[in-house]
């Protein structure tokens, strides 16, 4: 491979890692700071991606209408797709939160896992909604005409980095303020937090909604990167568990760790793909499962030997005044 090819490959790797970093930041609000056991990230991933897809594409007309069903198509700019994805995910998180946030953490986990799979199956089976298993294609990309299409990824990487930084900074500010302190108190001891006058349900809801909005952004960024989405993308493995591994690896309760974990684990994940390419033919068919196994083992190793992750939570978090 020539040097240009390697760089292009690294750029595409960084784009995916950057998208996953956005998801990790969202999960970090919910789990890292509030202790909400959300294992339905894929649900928000899915909703965010579809929402942005339908906001930014036109509703098919003429002969296409025979082949592509989608419930609406607004043909609006990319930025509105991103915002729409975030808002819709926020609203859905709010609705999910009403019955589930009163549950204890393991039950919340079961509920979110179930809801995420339900979303995926709805998109898969309801053809009128978003074209069923064939999914949606031809999503627009911003600043498309600016450069040669084969160099477009550089522009998209810049967009991802900008969004990631904005998300990172806004979360950091909120977490280091009294708002974040309340979330962390709830994570540590709900009853004590309630006795100190904090409305637990209210704050958990804010955390769930804010985290889900960030995840919705991640979903939208993914959709416009691949330009085509279908329900089989949003499986628990790619949509939820790998993000958990990233956050655990990087350091739950640390936003820098969340970003670092996304890049490290995505690097390892892609690296194992190269390794499995070297396997003999007889094993190649099993290679994907070996990779899944490796991710599972990695999670176990982290939880046993370094439960705080690469970068643990800082000792002093509310430090606006220093």
């Amino acid at each position: 491979m020539e040097i240009g090819g390697i760089i292009a490959y690294l750029v595409s790797l960084a784009i995916m890692a950057g998208i996953y970093a956005v998801f990790c930041l969202g999960l970090n609000i919910q789990w890292g700071y509030t202790g909400l056991f959300n294992i339905g990230i894929a649900g928000f991933f899915c909703i965010g991606a579809y929402a942005s897809a339908m906001i930014t594409t036109p509703k098919p007309t003429g002969v296409y209408a025979h082949y592509v069903n989608q419930i609406f198509g607004l043909n609006l700019p990319f930025i509105l797709g991103l915002l729409g994805a975030a808002v819709i995910c926020g609203v859905i998180a709010f609705l999910i939160g009403i019955p589930t946030l009163k549950l204890k953490e393991d039950y919340l986990a079961i509920a979110t896992l179930g809801i995420a799979e339900t979303f995926r199956l709805i998109f898969n089976n309801e053809h009128w909604l978003a074209n069923g298993p064939r999914g949606l294609m031809g999503l627009p990309q911003p600043f498309q005409g600016l450069v040669d299409p084969k160099n477009y990824n550089y522009i998209y990487l810049i967009i991802i980095v900008i969004i990631m930084v904005v998300v990172y900074l806004s979360i950091e500010r909120a977490i280091r303020s009294p708002w974040g302190r309340v979330l962390r108190g709830i994570r540590e001891d709900e009853i004590s937090a309630a006795m100190s006058g904090k409305d637990i349900f209210h704050f958990k809801m804010q955390s769930l909604v804010f985290g889900a909005m960030v995840m919705g952004l991640g979903g939208a960024l993914y959709a416009h990167y691949t330009k085509a989405i279908s329900p089989d993308v949003f499986t628990p493995l790619y949509g939820t568990f790998i993000i958990w591994v990233m956050l655990m690896a990087g350091g739950s309760g640390n936003n820098k760790g969340a970003v670092l974990g996304a890049f490290v684990v995505w690097g390892i994940w892609i690296g194992t793909k190269f390794m499995t390419d070297l396997l003999p033919y007889t094993l190649k068919a099993r290679a994907p499962y070996i990779r899944f196994l490796l991710i599972g083992i990695l999670l176990e190793i982290i939880l046993i030997y370094r439960p705080q992750g690469l970068l643990g939570e800082e000792k002093e978090v509310s430090k606006l005044i220093e």
């Binding site: 009294p178 302190r181 309630a194 006795m195 006058g197």
Partner: protein
């Protein structure tokens, strides 16, 4: 100040608090004693909104606070501590204290982004107050330690310090002396007395350590089998036949 009228709370077939009526008067340190299982902690949980009573009324400063959620009870300026301390262990001591004040500007997420100077200003004031409180309870040297790494006795002091951050009118202490060594205990007693006298905070405390109760509390209320059994000065309680019977059973009479 706090009036409990015929409160009933049962768990399944067990009636933990059974038509209990009692009154706590303002400015005093009222002790609540009684044998294990008398319903003391349950009564605290009912007062602070963790359990809803089946019957009865709880009146604080003339208002019915029965059935309010715990955070609403806090807003009425009642603070309670727990028998087994419930600190935020992965947060520093000073963060534990800064958590408490009510209605902080920076608790609204919008304000953290759009009104940073107001958040900052209040945060600074809360920080100063936390330092002051930590100096009062002499935990200042530990302010940047994780609350979880404190000793049992220090955690009791931390609970008291947290209560001070709330500017309470009334503090319910559930066994403040349990697991505290004698030196720390003296400090705790001195602190409670000082707070009652200087800051006019009313205390209502459950305790098994009779030395602490007899030296600190007046009046003392005795609970047994979910009801108030007796009330009086420490001396009166010590002499009360019914109290001895409740604690020791009838066989020693």
């Amino acid at each position: 100040m706090l009036k409990i009228e015929e409160v009933v709370k049962s768990f399944g077939g067990l009636t933990a608090v059974c038509e209990c009526s009692l009154e706590v008067s303002e400015g005093a340190i009222t002790g609540l004693i009684g044998p294990n299982g008398a319903g003391k902690t349950t009564l605290f949980n009912v007062i602070t909104g963790h359990y809803k009573p089946e019957r009865g009324r709880i009146i604080f400063q003339g208002e019915d606070i029965n059935g309010l959620a715990p955070h609403k009870i806090f807003q009425r300026k009642i603070y309670r501590t727990f028998q087994i301390t419930r600190e935020f262990s992965q947060m520093t001591v000073i963060e534990n204290l800064m958590f408490v004040p009510e209605g902080q500007v920076g608790e609204r997420i919008w304000n953290t982004w759009f009104r940073p100077s107001a958040v900052w200003k209040q945060e600074k004031a809360i920080h100063e107050k936390a330092i002051e409180v930590l100096e009062f309870v002499e935990l200042i040297d530990l302010k940047d330690e994780y609350a979880g790494s404190l000793s049992g006795g220090q955690k009791k002091l931390l609970e008291l310090a947290k209560s001070l951050m709330a500017d309470p009118k009334m503090v319910l202490l559930d066994e403040p002396g349990a697991g505290v060594n004698p030196t720390l205990m003296r400090k705790l007693i001195a602190n409670i007395r000082k707070l009652c006298e200087e800051k006019k905070i009313t205390f209502f405390l459950i305790e098994h350590d009779m030395d602490l109760v007899m030296s600190l509390c007046n009046p003392v209320i005795v609970m047994s089998e979910g009801k108030k059994l007796a009330e009086g000065t420490p001396e009166e309680i010590k002499k009360d036949e019914r109290v001895l019977e409740a604690y020791l059973g009838g066989q020693y009479r």
